[in-house]
Amino acid sequence: MHPAASVILFTTASGVGYGILSLAPLLVAFGILPDEDRWLGGALMLPALGLVTVGLLSSTFHLGHPERAWRALSQWKSSWLSREGVMAILSYPPTLAYTYAWVSLGSVDGPWVWAGFATVLTALGMMFTTGMIYRSLKPVPAWATDWTVTGYLTLGPLTGLAVIIAIASGFGLHPVRFQAVAIVFVLAAAIAKNAYWARLQAAWDDHAQNAGAAIASPGNTVRSIEWPHTEANYVLKEMGYGVARKHAEKLRRITRNLLLVAPAIVFCLLPSLLPLPYLIWAVIPGAVLTLAGVAIERWLFFAEAKHVVSLYYGVE
């Protein structure tokens, strides 16, 4: 599948943003983040709001008719893309309310706790609906698995947490506070991504075996001898992207190292070993590496997913 830059930007930026939003109120509720520090609140919630907003706007860049984007809210009964749009709108009121309480009032007690819960739920809802858009596309066997959704639900919080830790360390909070949470999400993301990759090739082969049956009759083999067009058409440009497949193994290794190994070292291991002033110089680059990792992962997510229409073009 062709990885449109705007889609990579959208999923990376909004993944980090909703990741922060899905965790910050919980971390406050459990006393890991202090709500009395308004500046910290601003330093976490405002970038998160900015990222999700930039992400949403960039997702409309690749539309043929951005001015009609409001129509995409109408078909939530059948379309996960529409549900994602509705969820994006629903997430703003609680998120803005919670941000207001934390930044202006310096307290998120009482009714604001509910705004916090709603912030967490709608942020998780966003990751879930995004994952479901891809999960429900049967013609892309790599995506048609629950591991796609699990990937979105774990990578968002993992990258969000990386940013939270980096920012909080600047406010004098030792990353060891987040150690347990970091271990949970690094492990969860590792399981989700590796499980996703483990079935990817087999899922494709299941369909590729049927190429003969799809075109001629079952049992026959087919060889494409002439395409319907001499130049690449829309279908090939959009769904026949092949650049990453050749390097898939290498790219996966890079992704694993940046997205899983780096956070494991920086956020799970080092906090037990180093005092704060030194740690800042580890967690900030650590967060940058994690974000670079997720951007490559999002690109690879598209680039290594094959669409069954390519069987008609003789792709194996």
Partner: protein
């Protein structure tokens, strides 16, 4: 609404005979010709006379070499256009309501006035039947020539899809696949018509008739004798043999 109808009164669609199709591309051409002035008009082309020509087409014909387990091989021409699926996920994924399936006849259409050009429907189609128009910023697809089949300005016999009308070998058939007594339904029963990529579960309306079994398989298994080279007069007798011998003698 992008929810699919529980059932449609009729199931209009095509039956494509892979045994008869010769890959002449006439249906491709007439589809483009009709539809670039029809319901989804225009079918824009990018750089049509230069390098990297591209454009919107609703119907594409592939060619394959098919080999049976016995090793017998032959060519197969394969028209690929929208199959107006019963379980058309291209419709349900559409966030705007631009894509819809008609309850009256099952035709799957795009309302260009509502389409935002998100392209998700084209990803959801296993058959690559939808093509995006970069100029208009909207998705386009086969309309089953909805503007022909109900067109009262046309003579009755012309109220069939352009691709069907034009096919010189009669490889494309059009009719109601919901009616067990229709010509197309009978044809499907008789020739073992089948769903394309059944495992996808889209329940396509269009049916493909497989190539007929070869009657003389043995002779076609990789033993077609190579033609003798043209300048080799081996075996020439009679007048030609005499001419050959005479010419041999000349220097």
């Amino acid at each position: 609404m992008t929810c699919l109808p529980d059932e449609t009164t009729r199931k209009l669609g095509l039956v494509i005979d892979l045994d008869t199709c010769v890959g002449c591309q006439a249906c491709v051409t007439n589809c483009k010709e009709w539809n670039t002035g029809g319901h989804m008009a225009p079918l824009t082309d990018t750089n049509p006379y230069g390098a990297e020509a591209d454009g919107v087409w609703f119907n594409r014909v592939h060619s394959y070499e098919v080999t049976t387990p016995e090793g017998s091989s032959r060519s197969l021409h394969f028209p690929r256009s929208c199959l107006h699926c019963e379980d058309a996920a291209c419709v349900t994924v559409c966030p705007t309501g631009a894509s819809y399936k008609r309850t009256s006849d099952g035709i799957v259409l795009v309302d260009e006035g509502k389409c935002i050009g998100c392209k998700l429907c084209s990803w959801a189609c296993p058959y690559g039947a939808r093509e995006y128009d970069v100029f208009e910023g909207v998705m386009k697809k086969c309309t089953l020539c909805v503007d022909r089949i109900y067109n009262e300005n046309l003579d009755q016999e012309d109220r069939v899809p352009a691709c069907v009308l034009t096919c010189p070998t009669g490889a494309r058939h059009y009719g109601d696949l919901n009616d067990p007594q229709s010509d197309v339904s009978r044809l499907v029963r008789k020739r073992g018509g089948r769903d394309l990529m059944q495992e996808m579960g889209y329940k396509p309306t269009n049916q493909y008739l497989p190539q007929r079994e070869k009657t003389n398989v043995a002779s076609s298994v990789n033993q077609s004798p190579a033609l003798a080279p043209l300048d080799d007069t081996y075996g020439a007798s009679g007048l030609l043999g005499w001419v050959d011998r005479m010419l041999e003698r000349m220097d």
